[in-house]
């Protein structure tokens, strides 16, 4: 079973497997919609906002997603597990070094 992930304003649509985080699915498919950091809910670079859809999350650093933000649909893509199709907005940034 997999779920369709769409980012607002982007044409790219991809499928995320059950029990697979949105970030890992994106990476596995060779897409680069959201920056990839620690993949462990710690660094915050993969931050997104869920605009629509059902989901659950794993543990995320409180320094990256506050309780308030969590209620407003913010999540870390590496800890975001879809329970149905999702529409997301990319938030996280990674400083470019080159």
């Amino acid at each position: 079973m997999s779920h369709r992930i769409r980012f607002e304003g982007l044409d790219e649509v991809f499928e995320c497997r059950n029990n697979e985080s949105v970030l890992v699915a994106m990476e596995r498919l060779g897409l680069a919609v959201v920056p990839v950091g620690c993949r462990g809910g710690g660094c915050g670079v993969c931050k997104v906002r869920v605009l629509d859809g059902w989901y659950h999350t794993g543990k995320m650093s409180r320094a990256q997603v506050t309780e308030q933000e969590e209620r407003e649909g913010y999540a870390l893509a590496c800890r975001l597990y879809p329970d149905g199709p999702l529409v997301l907005q990319a938030i996280g940034k990674l400083v470019r070094v080159t």
Partner: protein, 307 residues
């Protein structure tokens, strides 16, 4: 005379989001051994080639990162001397009672200008499973996972790099073995040693205080780095980069993340440092080679992903 004063990095206390996942990672994958779990929830771990009781302390918290890093000094008397010298360079020094960590004597503690807390201590109980000393075999127990030999160093990110460097050099007798410098002369990275190793502590300039880049563990050689990479892929551990080599320190390395997003390194090799060696410096426009010698470019994660 062998080493005096500050001997080596002795422990690092790391915050993790989930203790069970963290223990699988640090014990089964890296190969640390669990020493004890205390009432406050902290779990103490030991690497197979260390004589002291523990070197890694895990604490469950709602945000990952590093709580503190401890350096072992040679004598009790050194603690008093360093306390005075730390105060002389403007550090506030706190006392941590003996036993705050099981088996550890009194500590002195200060927050460096980059916002990181460091402890110094002279006494730690010996491990119940230390390396052998009588007709010593190369190992006392079979290695697990990557089979890391010891906790080796940390790389930390913070704003006042010059301030922290000054404290370690002026108050604690560290030497700066290697640096990265911007065209305007600003120091971007500083590699500090208190020993014969290329580094015992590294600091990179960063706009936020108190950030943790990685804790590093020693392997024996390049083939063990390759085997660590096999384990990383086999168990789907979050990889950062490598196996590769650092231009700085020349260590052969692999970077990856624990399940809470804290970066780890396992590495082998690196040059020997002597205090009469001239300092090595890299220009900022060669920083790719300095950090990742084979790729010759930084990945975006190196500068931007910390806990």
């Amino acid at each position: 005379m062998a080493l005096t004063g500050v001997l080596r990095p002795g422990f690092v206390q790391i915050r993790v989001l989930d203790m069970k996942e963290a223990l699988t990672h640090y014990c089964d994958r890296l190969g640390l051994f669990e020493v004890s779990r205390e009432k406050d929830g902290r779990v103490y771990l030991h690497a197979m080639d260390e004589f002291d009781r523990h070197s890694v302390i895990l604490r469950e918290a709602d945000q990952p990162g590093m709580d503190r890093m401890g350096f072992k000094v040679r004598t009790e008397h050194d603690l008093d001397l360093f306390e005075k010298r730390l105060r002389d360079v403007g550090m506030e020094v706190e006392h941590v009672e003996a036993g705050e960590q099981p088996g550890v004597g009194r500590r002195i503690s200060f927050v460096a200008p980059t916002g990181h807390r460091f402890d110094l201590y002279a006494e730690m109980e010996q491990s119940a499973l230390p390396p052998m000393t009588h007709n010593p075999d190369v190992m006392q127990v079979d290695p697990k996972g990557m089979g890391v030999q010891r906790f080796d160093h940390c790389l930390l990110y913070g704003d006042d790099l010059d301030g922290t460097e000054r404290v370690f050099v002026e108050a604690l007798d560290f030497e700066v073995s290697e640096t990265v410098t911007a065209p305007d002369g600003t120091r971007i990275a500083s590699f500090l040693t208190c020993s014969n190793k290329a580094h015992d502590l590294a600091i990179v300039r960063h706009d936020e205080k108190g950030k943790f880049h990685h804790a590093s563990f020693l392997l024996e050689d390049w083939s063990e780095v390759g085997r660590a990479a096999d384990i990383i892929t086999r168990y789907n551990i979050s990889i950062d980069i490598g196996p590769t080599r650092h231009g700085i320190t020349r260590g052969k390395t692999i970077y990856f993340f624990d399940p809470s997003g804290n970066r780890n390194e396992v590495f082998a090799g690196g040059y020997s440092y002597y205090p009469d060696n001239p300092r090595r410096n890299w220009d900022a426009d060669e920083v790719g080679k300095a950090i990742f010698y084979y790729e010759r470019v930084l990945n975006d994660r190196f500068m931007g992903v910390v806990t």
